[in-house]
């Protein structure tokens, strides 16, 4: 998949199923575990990663013929850090409450393995169009997984989805689901389910 002959269709399939960062490549675990206690922060994180992925993939693709081996990682990090800082400034300016909820996890996108992996595996070897499509669908795949994980946790932890009550009145919230233990258990079950599906197929 990660070679010069990658097509836009490969990028779409990869992002949405065969290479879903969290469930298939086990990348981007830090935000996956840290910001999925509720749907809104998870969605914001997913969209921030999507923005950074698309922008960094386009820029890396533009400079791919100029990259020298000794500068490769340095240039990737510089590019990613720039777009993460822009995303962080944007959140602080326009959604200050969400920016506070996400705390250090927005600046930490800089060290998110998904972005550097896509820069290395796709953008540095493919044209702008394929790289942009790869960024969009990898970002969408990541956002969907984050939102599913966050929905399960939010429903069980407080009985709501996006702050809208969805459980019956006598429902007793599971406080543990808001804590790291809830993230590990839910993610483990999701990984198990995906492995079960893929094992069955093969």
């Amino acid at each position: 998949m990660a070679n010069n002959t990658m097509t836009a269709l490969d990028a779409v399939k990869g992002g949405l199923w065969t290479e879903v960062p969290v469930l298939r490549l086990i990348l981007g675990m830090c935000p996956t575990l840290a910001v999925t206690a509720a749907v809104k922060p998870a969605l914001t994180m997913g969209l921030s990663v999507l923005f950074v992925l698309v922008c960094s993939n386009i820029v890396v693709s533009l400079m791919r013929n100029l990259l020298k081996p000794h500068l490769r990682i340095l240039m990737f990090t510089l590019t990613i850090a720039t777009f993460v800082t822009i995303a962080d400034l944007f959140l602080r300016a326009f959604t200050p409450q969400m920016s506070e909820v996400l705390g250090p996890y927005v600046p930490l996108i800089i060290v998110n393995c998904i972005i550097i992996a896509r820069a290395e595996a796709c953008a540095s070897k493919n044209g702008i169009f394929v790289s942009a499509v790869d960024g969009i669908f990898m970002g969408i795949g990541f956002t969907i997984v984050l939102c599913i994980l966050a929905s399960i946790r939010e429903v069980l932890a407080v009985g709501t989805i996006c702050d809208i009550p969805v459980m019956w009145e006598s429902f007793v919230p599971w406080a543990a689901m808001r804590m790291p233990v809830g993230a590990f258990i839910t993610l483990g079950l999701m990984l198990g389910f995906v492995n079960f599906l893929t094992a069955k197929k093969s």
Binding site: M63, H70, L78, T82, F90, R92, F94, R178
Partner: protein, 207 residues
């Protein structure tokens, strides 16, 4: 020499050009949004201070960078605001205070009355305490106990009457560390801020 310089430039020109370009991009983004970010901070602080001193019509900064010793030689700076009513009377003082919590730093906005004798309340500006346990420092049960408490050393008790307004604060069940952290913040800041406000001649009988 020129050959070596040329070699270095050849190897790193992309990095130099990119750094310039990205720096420009960041400068543009910062210029465009820094005003709004600052305004958001001011709005949040004003909102919290307004909720603590309902009579206040405006808040003015009366003492900038007041130094507070938070123990172990660590000095923290805090801005002190005077709340004024619509008829010009002093309704109280507000200041930002901080200290170590269970998981991370806890930042509070504390309000006291115009004579600096009674605590009017506090709001949590930032905290990362454990959901369901330590984060209850933002809840009414704990915050209510500080309202009307005298300015002085506060004591944290595990059990007691939480409705009684005095120096004794009853800890949140299951969150003793977070409760202690809040009480320590009060004990660190109240006395030192009162002294500095008093030295500045800002304390008066409501005027």
């Amino acid at each position: 020499m020129l050959k070596i310089i040329g070699e270095y430039i050849e190897k790193s020109w992309l990095l130099i050009v990119s750094s310039f370009f990205f720096g420009l991009l960041l400068a543009l983004a910062n210029t465009a949004w820094s005003g709004k970010i600052e305004q958001n901070k001011i709005d949040k602080l004003n909102g919290l201070m307004g909720s603590l001193i309902a009579d206040a019509s405006k808040f003015e900064l009366v003492l900038k960078d007041a130094q507070v010793n938070t123990g172990k030689g660590k000095i923290t700076k805090s801005d002190i605001y005077r709340a004024t009513t619509s008829d010009g009377n002093t309704a109280g003082f507000c200041f930002r205070a901080e200290g170590a919590g269970f998981a991370d730093k806890i930042e509070l906005v504390i309000a006291v009355d115009s004579a600096f004798n009674k605590i009017m309340g506090y709001s949590v500006l930032a905290s990362n305490e454990t959901p369901g346990f330590g984060d209850r420092i933002t809840g009414d049960y704990f915050r209510r106990q500080f309202m009307g408490a005298p300015v002085g050393t506060l004591n944290l008790l595990k059990k007691g009457d939480d409705t009684k307004v005095d120096n004794d604060i009853i800890a949140i069940s299951g969150a003793t560390v977070s409760s202690t952290a809040v009480v320590n913040i009060f004990n660190n800041f109240l006395e030192q801020i009162r002294r500095q406000v008093s030295e500045k001649g800002l304390l008066s009988n409501g005027k």
